[in-house]
């Protein structure tokens, strides 16, 4: 009896870990398969557009449903520029916010502000769109855009960025809305990283007579670098794919010019707008699918670049 019982126990000991490792394998392979399926489906559906327009699909500016000519450049540039503006505004703001919350403000006060930033992240994007449309757009039209025009209107090159009508709508406004939307994300990630910096490191620096700035610059920042880049990529990814809020304020025009006041388009908003009125199997539908795969490619590249950047940073140390 004894040996049998023992072997039973042993097999039980084997089965459960086996089952568990099988489950984990299954889940991770499933994710990979879903991902592969998504890519294949997008590229497969976009095949018609790619084969019809070739490389011109990326470089041309035309989007003409009447003559059935479709291309991605305007939306591509709109996506990149608006999300870049968003990240450029959000990065310093969320850095300051996160640092202040974790290092400077008393814990009791910080707790409430942290809750508020997290609440900001939970607001649906359509609310941001409406707020952008009814509050930010008139503000931009009446104050910000005329002001920027007044400052940069005569500066060579820069005046190109601020030319055109001041209607309040355009890439700059979209970038500002995006910045507000992704700030809580980046802030949350950074705050987590700041509070995870070992207190001993900071305290030793302070005891050596370092100022707050020096501690932040030489101790905290190197420690959190990787997480900060991760947070930025997360925010950027959200900005790239944001649809509703952008559609409200960007102007939805198929143009890509130098002016930040000009109405433009992003890939996500273009897909959302044109999808319902595209016939299945048509060239237009295929072009939208192709746009989708381009968007996915951009997200890949952003992710890849950030990884590359990180590796470079760590190599030099």
């Amino acid at each position: 009896m004894m040996p049998l019982k023992k072997s039973n126990h042993r097999s039980e000991k084997k089965i459960i870990p086996l089952f568990f490792s099988g489950m984990t394998w299954f889940s991770s392979v499933l994710i990979l398969l879903i991902f592969l399926g998504l890519i294949l489906e997008l590229f497969g559906q976009g095949q018609l557009a790619f084969s019809t327009f070739g490389f011109d699909f990326l470089t041309n500016e035309v989007w003409n449903p009447v003559t059935k000519q479709f291309s991605a450049r305007a939306a591509l540039i709109g996506t990149l520029v608006s999300s870049f503006i968003g990240v450029m505004i959000a990065l310093p703001v969320s850095f300051g916010c996160a640092y202040c919350l974790s290092e400077i403000l008393p814990k009791k006060v910080a707790k409430y502000i942290t809750a508020a930033t997290q609440l900001l992240a939970a607001i649906p994007s359509i609310i941001f769109g409406m707020w952008g449309f009814f509050v930010v757009v008139p503000g931009m039209a009446n104050y910000v855009q005329p002001f920027l025009k007044w400052i940069f209107g005569d500066v060579p090159f820069l005046q190109l960025l601020f030319s055109g009508g001041t209607f309040g709508i355009g890439i700059l406004t979209a970038g500002i809305i995006l910045a507000v939307m992704i700030t809580p994300f980046i802030t949350a990630v950074m705050q987590e990283a700041f509070s995870n910096t070992p207190a001993m490191l900071k305290e030793s620096a302070y005891s050596l007579g370092a100022t707050r700035w020096e501690v932040m610059h030489h101790v905290t920042l190197p420690w959190v670098q990787k997480v900060v880049v991760g947070g930025v990529v997360l925010g950027w990814g959200r900005a790239l794919g944001e649809t509703m809020a952008v559609t409200f304020v960007i102007g939805n025009a198929h143009h890509a010019g130098w002016s930040l006041f000009m109405p433009s388009n992003t890939i996500a908003s273009l897909i959302a707008l044109e999808f319902p009125e595209s016939a299945a199997g048509s060239l237009k539908m295929s072009s939208l699918m192709a746009l989708g795969s381009v968007l996915m490619l951009i997200s890949f590249i952003v992710l890849f670049c950030s990884q590359f950047l990180l590796r470079q940073v760590f190599k030099t140390r």
């Binding site: 449309f133 209607f167 559609t247 409200f248 044109e274 319902p276 009125e277 299945a280």
Partner: protein, 356 residues
């Protein structure tokens, strides 16, 4: 005994009562057996169909499940036969109809208003022509005090501000109707841009949906846009007068849209593909269109669809008018009922059995 008698009586009366109830209630049960029909398509007509559906269900016992997914979705899904009817804001080609054995008929009409936001200009004061609108939307006219606009509106003080051209960024039947109007008005527009549910706009900015165009025009000083009449009314937008074929400047209203409908040649139009743009009536508003339904011919479910629309045509005019849609003229309604009979989809028609 008496106890048993009592009990027996009770049982009998209970039986009797339930019989009576059954006999009394059963016709109602049969009459009220609810049929569900599904439809997708036009978002322009959605409020109308949903209101009609809510009011008709008691009398017709037909429940309408309508999803406003856009005209193309309506066309795609009725061809795929995944729904009982498709709703479109423009007539479908004859080839599509015959190939898929579909029947097409209009349900209501609407006008497209040209709306503006101009400081100092009161409602319905601004006069425009189709040519000028085409030149505004192609970027040839960029300021509101352009000499050509001033020449039409000598009594008005037009501000010297930029024009913000606003259009529908999503594919829409309204854009199709509006650009069809511009094509008729300007050869340049016809050659360069054409007409479609969405086109390559050279200037201006796009907004999603009628409501969004309306609020964008409201929001942007110097804006001009085009929306369905109902949206112009609801948002208290400043509509412009347009010059029609008769040479008169007309303001958009139920009356002027109705005048355009009356002047159209409904009875000779095949598949109700009638041109309601620039009709020759004295008070006719020039940008009018009908919204359509597609149903499969010789189909039992289509009979439920026509039963619903038969109710709408006889009792739904008041609802349509209240929602600022324009009901079809009576002659058109009569013609549609004949079409249903020919196609074997008039409610209660026995033609389906004959064919199959």
């Amino acid at each position: 005994m008496s106890y048993f008698n009592n009990k027996k009586n009770q049982v009998v009366s209970l039986f009797g009562l339930s019989f009576a109830l059954f006999a009394f209630a059963s016709p109602f049960v049969y009459a009220q057996e609810i049929q569900t029909i599904t439809g997708v398509g036009s978002s322009f007509a959605a409020p109308l169909y949903q209101n009609w559906a809510a009011s008709s269900i008691k009398e017709t016992a037909i429940k309408v499940n309508y999803q406003p997914l856009g005209s193309s979705a309506g066309q795609n899904q009725i061809i795929a036969k995944t729904v009982n009817f498709g709703a479109l804001d423009m007539p479908t080609s004859v080839e599509q109809l015959t190939e898929n054995n579909l029947v097409q008929f209009p349900t209501a009409m609407g006008g497209v208003a040209v709306v503006v936001n101009l400081p100092g200009i009161k409602e319905h004061q601004l006069k425009l022509t189709g040519e000028i609108i085409a030149d505004i939307y192609s970027g040839k006219i960029t300021k509101w005090n352009d000499p050509r606009i001033v020449a039409l509106n000598k009594e008005l003080q037009l501000p010297a501000i930029d024009i913000a051209q606003i259009y529908r960024a999503d594919g829409s039947g309204t854009t199709k109707v509006f650009t069809s109007y511009l094509v008729k008005q300007s050869d340049d527009w016809k050659k360069t841009y054409g007409s479609n549910t969405s086109i390559a706009w050279p200037v201006g900015m796009g907004a999603r949906g009628n409501a969004s165009v309306a609020s964008m025009v409201k929001n942007i000083s110097g804006g001009i846009g085009y929306v369905e009449y109902a949206y112009a009314l609801q948002n208290h937008l400043n509509t412009a007068q347009l010059k029609n074929v008769a040479g008169d400047f007309v303001t958009i209203s139920e009356g002027t849209i109705q005048a355009a409908a009356k002047a159209a040649d409904w009875l000779h139009a095949k598949n109700y593909d009638v041109d309601l743009i620039d009709t020759k009536g004295e008070d006719a508003w020039p940008i009018v269109s009908a919204t359509y339904i597609l149903v499969p011919a010789y189909n039992h479910k289509s009979q439920d669809v026509t039963k619903f629309f038969k109710w709408a045509f006889t009792k739904g005019d008041a609802i349509a008018t209240k929602l600022h849609y324009i009901p079809l003229p009576i002659v058109v309604k009569e013609k549609i009922e004949k079409t249903w009979e020919y196609a074997g989809i008039a409610a209660g028609s026995s033609q389906i059995k004959k064919i199959k």
